[in-house]
Assembly symmetry: C2
Homo-oligomer: 419 residues x 2
C-alpha cells in the first residue's frame, strides 16, 4: 500500500511523463480528444447527472451553504453547455508552436520566440464540476498536463468526469495521465502537492478567499490567483446618462455572482441630483439592496447608510453601494483606496477624463463607456477564458489558451561566435 | 526604536508609495535620474572604490572564498563600466505605456493591452555591488520601485551606492524611496520581507543555488529565479567542423563563469574519431580540464573519466565534460535527462535535425550553429538584460525592460452592455 506522499509523487511523475508526450501532440489529435470528451458527455449525461444528484443529496444533508450547492449542480442542461464549450475550444487556434516575427540581429543571427506548453498545471477548486471539464480542456488544448483536485462535495461527479477524460484521451492515443482527477483527500495531501515544484509548473486555485489565500501561502510552485473583484462604475457629470444607466444596470445585474460584477457605483456630484433618483428607482425595481454614502442619502434618504466596510466588500449579490464623489479625481482616488485592481469603468464623453481614467486606474481591465461584464476572454479577443487572473505577473485579467503557455527563444546562426 | 518588523513594513510602505509616483514619471525624468546616477558614479568613483576596498579587506580577513571575493570587487574600472551601462539603459526605449495593436471586437468595442509598471520589486543578492547599480537602473526605467538587499560582505559599497541613488532621484524630483538599499540584516529580516506580498509584487534572487532555493521556499511573493545553466553544444556528424570547433571554444571559454557557458559537449559518433582529438587539443591548449565518457576515452585515452555526476554539474570554470552520442536523438535525450532547460545548441547542416532539435529541446534558448554565449538580452534584441530567467512563467530566458513590466487591458466603448 502506497503512503499519501508516494501516491502524490506517483501522480506527479505520471503527469510529467504525459506532459512531454502532450507537448508533441498534433493539433488535430488534441482536438479529437476534446471532441471525444464532448460526445461522451452528451451520450452519458444521464449517468453524470445521476452521480451529481448523489453529491447534491449529501451536500444538503451536510447542510452546506446555498451558494456552494448552487455551484455544485451539474444537471443535464449544465452538462450540455460543457458539450458546446468543448466544441468551441476544439475550434480555437492552437497556441503551441506560434512564432513571433523573426528578427535579424546585427550579429547576423535570426531570432524568434515560439510558444511552448507550460508543462504541468495543478488546479485546486471547490464545488463546480464544470471546472473539471473546462480546466482539463484548456490545459489539453494548450499542450499541458493537468492535475485536478476538486472539493470533496463534488467527489462522485468529478471522479466520473475523470474517468471520461481517461477514456477520451485513450480513444485518440494520448496518455491517460494527461488529465488526472484526484480523489478527495485531506489538507495534508493538498499541502504536499503544493510543494512538488519539481513536477508542477503552475497552480491555479479557484474558489473562496480562504482557499485561494491558503494555496498561495503553502505553495512553493508559482500560483496564479483568481481573486476577488471589487469593481466600480464611475458616472461622470459629462456622461451620456442613458449609457450610464444601462451600463450600471448591466454591470450589476447580468450576473451579480461573478467577480467582474460592479460592487460600487460612483456618481459625480454635478449629476447626482438628477441621476441618482433615477438609478435608485431602476435598481429597486430589480430588487437590489442599495447602500449610500451621506451625500447620496441627502439626495435619496431611503438608501441604507453605507459603512466604511462596504466600500471594500465584494457582495457577489444583488447589493450595491453608491457613493457621490466630487469629480474624476475623487473617483480615481476612491478606486485606488478600496478597489481590487480588477475591473473598473468610466462613463463620460470627456476626452481628457477618459485618458486620465485609463492611465491612472491601475486595474487589469479599464473600460470606457462599456459594462464591466465585458471583462471576459471571449469579448476581449482571447477566444475563451479559463478564468480572470488578479496577478500582475505572467497573465493579468482574462486568461485564454495563450496565457496557459510559456515560450522559448529560437536562434539560427551560421557559425557565429561572440567577441 | 522600531522593531525589525516595523522597520521592514515601513520600507515596504515607502516603496509602495514611491511606486505610484514612479509609475506616472515621464520617460525624460527617469532618464535624467539614470544619467544623474551615471555622472555621480563617474565623479565619485574614488570614494566608491575606497568603500569597496574596506569590504574587500574584511572579506579577506573573514576568509571568504575566492569566487565571492572576485565578484565583490568594484574598482574604478568596474565602476566606469556601470557608468556606460547607465547611459545605455537611459538610451533604451521606455516600455511603459507601449500599446499592442487596437482590435475592434464584434461587440464594437475597441480593445488593446498597455504595458504598465510591475509595482515593487525586491532583489536579494550576494556580493556583486554592480547589481545595486543595474537592478536599480532597470527597475527605475521600467517604472517600478526597488528594494535591494545585497550581502553583508558588500555592505559599505552598497550603502554608499544607495545614498547616491537617493541623491540622483532627488536631483530630478523623483521619490528617494524609489530605490532603497537595505542595510545588512539577519535571515529573519529577509524572511519577513519575503512575506510582504501586500507591498511587493516580485522577488528576484541572484546568487548561489542555496540562496535561490531558500528565497523560493520562503517567499509568498512571486519569484523569478535565475538558476543554474547546464548548457550543451551538440556537434552532429553533418556539422561544418570549423564552425563546430569555434562554437565549442567560444561557448566554454569566453566567460566560463556565467550561466550560459557550455558545460557538456556532445559529439556524434560518426565524427568523433576525427573531431574529438582536434577539440581536445584546442581545449588543452587553453588550459581546460577535460572529462570524457567511456567512448570518448576510447578515442582519446588521456581524458579524465567522467562520472554520472559530471553530466549534471554546473562547473562555471575551465572544466568540460565530453560525451560521444549515437545521433541527434541520443543528444536530445541526454539534454532532457541532465540539462537544466537553459541554453543548448546544435551544430549541423542537416535541415531535419535542426528542426527536431529546435522543437524537442525544451530550453529557454535553443541555438543552431551559434555559440551559447548569444543567450544574452542585447544579442536577442531586448536592448539589455537584467538577468536570465529559468522560469517558465512570466519571462523565460533573458529579461529586458519589458519583462520587468505588467500590462493592463484598455477597452473603449460607446455605451455597450452585454446580453
Amino acid at each position: 500500500m502506497m503512503s499519501m506522499e508516494e501516491g502524490i509523487i506517483s501522480i506527479c511523475q505520471q503527469a510529467k511523463a504525459a506532459s512531454s508526450l502532450l507537448a508533441k501532440a498534433s493539433t488535430p489529435q488534441k482536438n479529437d480528444a476534446l471532441l471525444a470528451m464532448s460526445h461522451m458527455l452528451s451520450r452519458r449525461k444521464g449517468g453524470i447527472a445521476r452521480e451529481n444528484r448523489r453529491d447534491m443529496k449529501k451536500a444538503k444533508e451536510r447542510g452546506l451553504r446555498k451558494s456552494l450547492i448552487d455551484r455544485l449542480l451539474f444537471d443535464e442542461e449544465r452538462i450540455m453547455s460543457r458539450v458546446s464549450a468543448l466544441e468551441h475550444i476544439a475550434a480555437l487556434p492552437d497556441p503551441v508552436g506560434n512564432m513571433s516575427p523573426v528578427r535579424q540581429m546585427p550579429s547576423g543571427l535570426r531570432v524568434a520566440k515560439m510558444r511552448v506548453p507550460l508543462g504541468v498545471i495543478a488546479m485546486i477548486y471547490e464545488a463546480r464540476p464544470h471546472v473539471t471539464v473546462n480546466a482539463g480542456a484548456f490545459s489539453l488544448k494548450s499542450g499541458t498536463a493537468a492535475i485536478l483536485r476538486g472539493g470533496s462535495e463534488a467527489a462522485n461527479t468529478n471522479l466520473l468526469l475523470g474517468s471520461l477524460w481517461r477514456e477520451a484521451l485513450e480513444e485518440v492515443g494520448l496518455p491517460q495521465s494527461a488529465i488526472q482527477v484526484l480523489p478527495p483527500s485531506g489538507h495534508e495531501a493538498v499541502e504536499f502537492l503544493l510543494k512538488q515544484s519539481e513536477y508542477i509548473d503552475l497552480v491555479i486555485p479557484r474558489g473562496g478567499k480562504e482557499l485561494i489565500k491558503t494555496v498561495a501561502e503553502k505553495s512553493t510552485i508559482p500560483v496564479i490567483k483568481h481573486y476577488q473583484g471589487i469593481c466600480h462604475v464611475y458616472v461622470d457629470d459629462r456622461a451620456n446618462l442613458e449609457h450610464a444607466l444601462n451600463i450600471s444596470l448591466n454591470s450589476k445585474l447580468l450576473m451579480p455572482e461573478v467577480c467582474n460584477a460592479m460592487e460600487t457605483l460612483l456618481i459625480a456630484e454635478g449629476i447626482a441630483p438628477s441621476f441618482l433618483p433615477q438609478v435608485v428607482e431602476s435598481f429597486h425595481k430589480e430588487g437590489v439592496e442599495l447602500k449610500g454614502c451621506d451625500r447620496a442619502r441627502e439626495i435619496v434618504p431611503e438608501l441604507i447608510p453605507a459603512t466604511e466596510e462596504d466600500w471594500s466588500t465584494e457582495y457577489l449579490d444583488k447589493i450595491l453601494s453608491i457613493k457621490v464623489v466630487k469629480d474624476v479625481d475623487e473617483a480615481i482616488a476612491h478606486i485606488a483606496t478600496y478597489g481590487s485592481q480588477h475591473t473598473d469603468a468610466i462613463v463620460t464623453e470627456d476626452y481628457s477624463r477618459i485618458n486620465r481614467f485609463l492611465r491612472e486606474v491601475d486595474s487589469a481591465v479599464v473600460l470606457v463607456n462599456a459594462s464591466t461584464m465585458f471583462d471576459d476572454g471571449e469579448e476581449l479577443g482571447l477566444g475563451a477564458e479559463v478564468g480572470i487572473s488578479t496577478e500582475r505577473m505572467h497573465a493579468r485579467g482574462p486568461m485564454g489558451l495563450e496565457e496557459l503557455t510559456s515560450y522559448k527563444w529560437l536562434v539560427w546562426g551560421e557559425g557565429q561566435v561572440k567577441t
